[in-house]
């Protein structure tokens, strides 16, 4: 086992030993390296002021992605490349196109969020050849908050930064990073210890299973987009944690054809971004839900498994996965078992997990017809918000009747929940507005939501019902605009 870590920071190799393993990357950058360009705006991954770009080996590929440094633990970066705002300009001080574009477009005012935007744009610049559509820019920037500019100049900067490429300096830098990542593919297990805390980093699923069985009190860390807050906001100590981000088996997405249809298997360590890419836009509704899942920085490091395992009552992805009939794959030592997702959630903060047992992944069955499946997330803010209500509908119509139906909801109960009574009211019935209207009362049997800071109970109940109505209207009257995003301003001329 190795007891120290190393990574490439702004083109230079850093070796770190004797560090508390729950030190965040941000704390280390600011306090130890005195790289203060990266800011703390919220310390919970919601504002993006701490954005850095991380290069990682993913299977055969290498990805450079924006992530939040404020809730990521330092050992997670072993064997990666990290670029901060100080490392973006050329050595001679010439600004990178993303920086120059921000300056030219008057895209900073107070400047505190600007390093984060700079890094999100830098990631976009590295991953796109030409200026993407405005909607893609908005997606890339949804995890960065600015309170001064109103965003227009920043979006303009993103659009105009692609002129004048390619840059020789970029290519050189990329080569240095790729060379480092290629060389850094060493497979040792890590044990990072400091301040009486310990983080273990296994390299295979078997190793993980053995480690966790022997230390069932350990906290499993995947993307740390939730566990990071336990440390930064709740002062929890995490005496022993196990980081699963280097277990390659858990990072795989596989697709297999069965008699019943296409089955997708996603490892518990697959990030949301990778999962969305692997499914390449099918089904569209799931892709749209991912687009609205947190911000880009969280999607790039947060995992599908983590989103399920943390047992949030909202669990933004879980309602969709329930509707897709997701199976949770569990492992304890060498024992494996499978639980249907809706049964995995037992109660608030309680899941069907035994001591030493962990998620290895999930399996979903893609709907035969993509149009059978729809998701509706309702939140105060369109992007980067947690659902007040999220409803997912997987409804197959045959000969004008509801032949199959699975409906999942988040925000309606202490756990993400399947709407069995609503399903029963629909199944076998003619697919008509009358059937839908009759099924609405069944929501009262399935759910008794609560009021909280996001929404009142009565709003949640009303919206849940209306989402079924929307689903019906969308499938039967396809020309009718049913979402505000369908609607453009009345045009001149």
């Amino acid at each position: 086992m190795r007891d120290n870590i190393s990574f490439l920071l702004n083109g230079r190799v850093e070796h770190v030993a004797d560090v508390c393993p729950t030190t965040t990357l941000l704390q280390w950058l600011r306090r130890v390296k005195r790289l203060t360009g990266t800011k703390e705006g919220c310390a919970e991954g919601d504002c993006g002021a701490c954005t850095v770009v991380v290069g990682r080996v993913k299977g055969e590929a290498i990805a450079f992605e924006a992530i939040n440094a404020c809730i990521a633990f330092l050992p997670m970066f072993d064997g990666t490349t990290v670029t901060t705002v100080e490392g973006v300009a050329q050595a001679d001080g010439k600004l990178h196109p993303c920086q120059q574009s921000l300056v030219d477009n008057h895209a900073s005012q107070c400047g505190f969020c600007t390093p984060g935007f700079t890094m999100s744009l830098y990631a976009l610049y590295r991953n796109e050849a030409t200026a993407p559509a405005v909607s893609a820019i908005e997606e890339a920037l949804a995890g960065n908050l600015c309170r001064c500019t109103g965003y227009g100049p920043i979006v303009q900067a993103a659009q105009s930064m692609f002129g004048g490429r390619p840059q020789a300096a970029d290519a050189e830098r990329r080569q240095v990073e790729v060379d480092y990542l290629a060389a850094a593919k060493h497979g040792e297990t890590l044990c990072i210890t400091g301040e009486d805390r310990r983080m273990l980093v296994p390299r295979s699923e078997d190793e993980l299973a053995a480690l966790y069985l022997s230390r069932p009190d350990a906290t499993i860390v995947a993307g740390a987009t939730d566990v990071g807050l336990w440390v930064t906001k709740q002062d929890r100590l995490l005496n022993t944690s196990i980081y699963i981000g280097r277990v390659e088996e858990l990072a795989r997405v596989t697709r297999s054809q069965t008699d019943l249809g296409v089955v997708i298997r996603m490892g518990a360590g697959v990030t949301h971004s990778d999962a969305a890419r692997a499914l390449s836009g099918r089904p569209a509704a799931l892709h749209e839900l991912w687009r609205r899942f947190a911000g880009e920085q969280v999607r790039n490091i947060g995992t599908v498994g983590g989103n399920i395992a943390n047992g949030s009552p909202i669990g933004d992805l879980s309602p969709a996965l329930i509707a897709l009939g997701a199976q949770v794959l569990l492992r304890r030592g060498d024992e494996r078992r499978t639980v249907t997702l809706e049964n995995f959630f037992i109660g608030y903060g309680k899941q069907d997990l035994r001591a030493g047992e962990f998620l290895t992944g999930i399996e979903i069955m893609l709907p035969a017809d993509s149009a059978d499946f729809s998701c509706h997330k309702v939140s105060k803010r369109m992007l980067d918000d947690i659902s007040a209500v999220c409803g997912a509908f997987n409804i197959h119509i045959q000969e004008s009747r509801v032949a199959q139906v699975r409906i999942g909801f988040g925000g309606m109960a202490a756990v993400p929940k399947r709407a069995f009574a609503v399903e029963a009211a629909l199944l076998g019935q003619p697919w008509t507005r009358a059937t839908v209207d009759a099924a609405l009362v069944a929501f009262e049997d399935d759910f008794s939501p609560i009021s909280d800071a996001r929404a009142s109970a009565s709003y949640r109940m009303q919206v849940a019902k209306n989402l079924l109505v929307r689903t019906f209207v969308e499938r039967t009257r396809t020309a009718t605009p049913t979402q505000v995003t369908d609607c453009a301003a009345s045009m001149s001329e």
Binding site: T38, S379, L383, A488
Partner: protein, 782 residues
């Protein structure tokens, strides 16, 4: 006539003078990480960090506070309680003495500073604070506006502004309506939280580096808490990571705690708020309830208006009095009210002490007035824009004594809102689009669109007249480089850039020659807060006056040497012309230095004409008004209440712009911030007075995709200030926030379409998806 010589100016204009669209002076530092904020400053070795432990009760006596275990925790150096304060335990921004630094036996909101833990790291301090034993004896707590109104829990006697016989006017009006509107508060969400670093010096000296809009007040507060003279405290502010009013008075607490800790620990101490703590500790925009009773005629002309403002001030005054006053001073917005009464209740509640926020009460007063206009229009089935225009104050070029006086008896002499609205409604095609939208709505069952044009008139000047003063300090070094300092602070609004442009213009030298330096109480004393949109107006004038003083000395020196009159000396781009000869600026400076001419000067400015008799509620509280208008088109989903801003057109008057790029940035950012307040930003307290929305996970400010799908923004190109302001520009910081009201009015218009515009649904602020859906359902069921 001065003859041009060979070495004369080879260009017509300096680089970076007034009216150029320069980028923000720190823009390159912003994008490279080189701009330093308080938490970025390299601290001396041994610097400690302090955590402020907060009250867990809204209203309680603290029976026992035992911090023994806190003191014994790892890393802890000392624990501070009220008993440790050598001077006064008060950090009030006004002489109300109702904001203790650390609670002394009584807590009055959840989040109030109770004690402070000084440790090697803030993580250690925070962990240690959890070990305290606090026993409370709970007292009845008043949380909401309605609870406070019912309990007559007032900070001060209700304040009334009145003009004319309101009862008679309303009673005699052909039509009347009354209503109520609840208006939520707003969290500033400056990206940089409150922060201060205190560095003790010799004697009683204390140096403070902080993120504050009001360095002088930090100085006064720290001196008061430490029990030392103000000359012992020096406060420096290089820049803030956003302020928006939230760093006008709220910086007092972290600075005073850091200073107290530094004094006791005899080491530098830093206090930086965590985001959640910042939400819990600091005040926000005041939430209001507005009740109104209006009389009008069949054409929508308002005849009388009686308005009640119930203002949730929180546990102390802070700046609530001038804020509530300004709300009243904007209860008319752009509209002449023949008879009006505005009654304001300043409610004491056991919640955070609400504070300044961009607009300073004006937005709340204005949004209610716009709502009243919309209701009048809906009642008469008139286009709200038509009702707005009919009620505007008299245009400045068409003086009509009878329609130019405000409810506070000030004559509006500069009204140009008719011109702005006329131009904007044309360019935005308001009429055609309104008709199109109504036609479209009739065939769209689920998605409905709405449109509204709302105007803004915002009074410029501090209503506390004495605050309308500013100072500046300019040094020219012997190499000709210029060091500029003034009393204003940079919070992102580009103030330093503008003032440097003013100074460059005054001396006729390139902007690059002017070095902008951190605001410090040691250079310019007794300053007012950078607030009330006044930064460029006041400090620009002060800086120009300083420059003119030096120019006068230079002119005298050169004139004497060349044997001409000082009046014959002219400052040309980069040089000084005199009697047919031209000298470079550098030469003149060098020669002046050798000739023992002072190259340093202070400048001062006091706004003329303003006077305000608060007791009588009469006078001229404002030097002038800033005007603007916006048209917004929105879409709502009648199944969920979700909504989008599809398009916004803005025409805004900044007079003659000092820097159009910076001014446009203020307008766009202000608009989006205002729209956020009115739509998605919702503060939720529970019945125990605990703020539930204390992080960006639950409190949503606009994100990138929430800006309008299309934004057409223009400066009013005929704009020129009627008053003699700095280069005839107008203030721009706050007024654009209220352009966001167009979004709120458009949302109401969209909801009204559900019942075919027969009535205007009740809609409160913020118009969240939930409120919109409930409004839709209410009018669906009649």
């Amino acid at each position: 006539m001065i003859k041009m010589q060979k070495q004369g100016p080879n260009r017509a204009r300096i680089s970076g003078g007034v009216a150029e669209a320069l980028h923000h002076d720190s823009a390159v530092k912003h994008v490279t990480g080189g701009a330093l904020y308080v938490d970025d400053i390299a601290t001396p070795p041994g610097t400690l960090e302090v955590y402020i432990a907060m009250s867990a009760r809204a209203h309680a006596r603290v029976i026992r506070l035992n911090v023994d275990a806190v003191r014994a925790a790892p890393g802890v150096i000392c624990v501070l309680t009220a008993a440790d304060i050598p001077g006064g335990n008060d950090i009030s921004p006004t002489p109300t003495e109702d904001d203790p630094l650390l609670a002394d036996g009584l807590v009055q909101y959840v989040g109030q500073a109770l004690f402070a833990v000084v440790a090697v790291t803030v993580q250690q301090a925070r962990a240690a604070a959890k070990l305290a034993r606090v026993d409370y004896e709970e007292l009845p707590a008043i949380i909401t506006v309605n609870q406070a109104l019912a309990a007559r829990s007032y900070l001060e006697a209700p304040y009334v502004m009145q003009r004319g016989d309101v009862e008679a006017a309303i009673a005699a009006a052909p039509r009347r309506l009354s209503g109520r509107m609840e208006i939520g508060g707003q969290e500033h969400f400056y990206l940089e939280g409150q922060a201060a670093l205190a560095v003790p010096g010799e004697d009683d000296d204390m140096g403070i580096y902080c993120s504050s809009q009001h360095p002088s007040e930090i100085q006064h507060t720290v001196a008061h808490v430490l029990g030392v003279a103000r000359h012992a405290v020096t406060v420096e502010v290089r820049r803030m990571g956003g302020g928006f009013g939230g760093k006008e008075s709220q910086g007092n607490l972290p600075a005073a705690v850091a200073a107290l800790a530094a004094r006791i620990a005899r080491r530098p101490v830093k206090c930086v708020y965590d985001r959640d703590d910042d939400f819990l500790l600091t005040g926000k925009r005041h939430d209001f309830r507005v009740d109104y009773n209006v009389g009008f005629d069949d054409h929508g002309m308002i005849l009388g208006l009686d308005v009640m403002h119930a203002v949730r001030c929180g546990m102390s005054f802070d700046l609530s009095q001038p804020i509530a006053d300004r709300a009243m001073l904007h209860a008319d917005n752009c509209y002449y009210l023949p008879a009006a009464r505005i009654t304001s209740y300043r409610l004491k509640t056991h919640t955070q002490s609400n504070t300044a926020f961009r607009g300073f009460g004006g937005p709340q007063g204005m949004v209610a007035m716009e709502r009243i206009i919309d209701e009048v229009a809906a009642t008469l089935a008139l286009d709200p824009l038509e009702v707005r225009r009919r009620n505007f104050y008299a245009h400045r070029d068409r003086p009509d004594e009878a329609r130019a006086v405000t409810p506070f008896h000030m004559r509006v002499e500069d009204c140009i809102i008719d011109d702005i609205v006329a131009e904007l409604s044309e360019t935005a095609e308001y009429q055609r689009r309104r008709a199109d939208i109504r036609a479209w709505n009739s065939s769209s069952a689920i998605i409905k669109r709405g449109i509204a044009l709302t105007p803004v008139r915002f009074g410029i000047s501090f209503t506390k007249t004495f605050l309308n003063q500013a100072g500046a300090l300019i040094h020219i070094y012997s190499d000709g480089s210029i060091h500029l300092n003034h009393g204003g602070t940079e919070m992102g609004q580009g103030l330093n850039t503008k003032i440097a442009q003013v100074v460059a213009e005054a001396f006729q030298v390139d902007y690059a020659r002017v070095k902008i330096t951190a605001t410090t109480t040691g250079k310019v004393p007794n300053t007012s807060a950078t607030a009330a949109s006044s930064g460029a107006d006041l400090n620009g004038m002060a800086a120009r006056n300083a420059a003119e003083t030096i120019k006068g000395r230079l002119a005298s020196f050169v004139a004497e040497r060349e044997g001409v009159s000082a009046n014959d000396v002219q400052f040309w781009p980069g040089c000084v012309a005199v009697g047919g000869r031209v000298f470079t600026f550098d030469e003149v400076i060098k020669d002046a230095h050798m000739a023992r001419v002072s190259l340093s000067a202070t400048g001062f400015y006091a706004t003329p004409k303003v006077q305000w008799d608060r007791e009588a509620a009469r006078g001229r509280p404002f030097y002038y008004f800033a005007y603007g208008a916006a048209v917004s088109e929105v879409a709502i989903d009648t199944l969920t209440g979700e909504n989008r801003i599809l398009r916004t057109d803005i025409l805004h008057d900044v007079g003659r712009s000092l820097n159009p790029a910076i001014d446009k940035g203020q307008i766009e950012g202000g608009f989006v911030q205002g729209a956020g307040w009115l739509t998605m930003e919702e503060l939720v307290w529970d019945e125990k007075g605990r703020l539930l929305t204390h992080a960006p996970s639950t409190y949503k400010i606009p994100a990138c995709s929430d800006r309008p799908g299309i934004l057409n923004l223009a400066l009013y190109d005929r704009g020129v200030n009627s008053e003699d302001t700095i280069y005839r520009s107008k203030a721009v910081g706050e007024p654009p926030l209220m352009l966001g009201i167009s979004v709120f009015a458009a949302l109401a218009d969209a909801v009204a379409s559900v019942a075919d515009y027969q009535l205007l649904p009740q809609l409160d602020v913020p118009a969240t998806p939930e409120r919109i859906l409930m409004a839709v359902m209410r009018i669906q069921t009649g």
